[in-house]
């Protein structure tokens, strides 16, 4: 798994939720932006990505676009977790192939339910 967010606070919260709910399957990697995330993915086999949208250097939508353009990462499920609630950004993320979408602020229960549903597919 890979958590991509420029906020260390959000990365810690997501990691805690994943650990508490038993959804942290294998090692959980972290990255502060899309560019770092691509570097992490080049080094590790990542089964699921949780990514913010608004980040410096490479934002979440650019990162998602890069994944979908790659043979290796085309099918890796990506859950967007962001404050962006605007329909245009949601639509763009879905069209780019985001598997799911969680708006910040989120409750641990909501996140657990969405991830559990996704992992059971």
């Amino acid at each position: 798994m890979l958590i991509v967010d420029d906020s260390t606070a959000i990365r810690k919260i997501l990691l805690r939720v994943l650990n508490q709910t038993g959804l942290a399957l294998g090692q959980v990697h972290e990255a502060g932006d899309g560019k770092q995330a691509l570097e992490v993915m080049a080094l590790h086999e990542i089964s699921l990505v949780l990514s913010d949208i608004n980040m410096p250097n490479m934002d979440g939508l650019e990162f998602l676009r890069a994944l979908r353009a790659s043979e290796r990462w085309r099918t890796v499920p990506v859950v967007m977790i962001t404050t962006e609630g605007g329909q245009a950004k949601v639509q763009e993320a879905i069209e780019l192939g985001a598997a799911s979408y969680v708006r910040k602020p989120f409750s641990a229960d909501l996140l657990r339910d969405k991830l559990a549903a996704l992992l059971s597919q």
Partner: protein, 168 residues
Amino acid sequence: MTPTTAETPVSLQKEEVANMVFAAAQEMFVSMMGAEVQLLPEPDAGRSDVFDGVLSLIGLAGAVAGSGALICSSEVACDLSSRLLMSECPQVDAQTLDSVGEITNMIVGGLKNLIEPYTGELRMSVPTVIHGKNIFLRNSQADMAVAVRCGYPQGEFELTVRLSAARK
């Protein structure tokens, strides 16, 4: 409320924006901290512009431009960080500032989602968070300036929003 037009970019009333700011803060507290905030009386207009503590600022840009900010004491910043991360925060450090920045990001993001139907699409900057003493805060003129004081059992913080029609 009247949806905005090109001629009247800030068509919302001040009280409506204040209610949206409080609603965004409440949603963040309930979802992420398992607590509720209370609306406190408006800040005294004659209070000092100088303060000690933490200031977290996010820029807004679009047909309406401006900023959203969270201002609190160092003690409240530590308490907010402790609640968000569920870990001790004995003093303000990089993690505390990151937490306060993210709290501001979620509150201003919530407000953005609420006002966009009236202002058109807005973009948010990443948060800038400052910790210090004798911070002198000077705001330029804005078409609308809203200050909302929020209280919870361990303290209080202030949220300010300043909006103006974007210059062409």
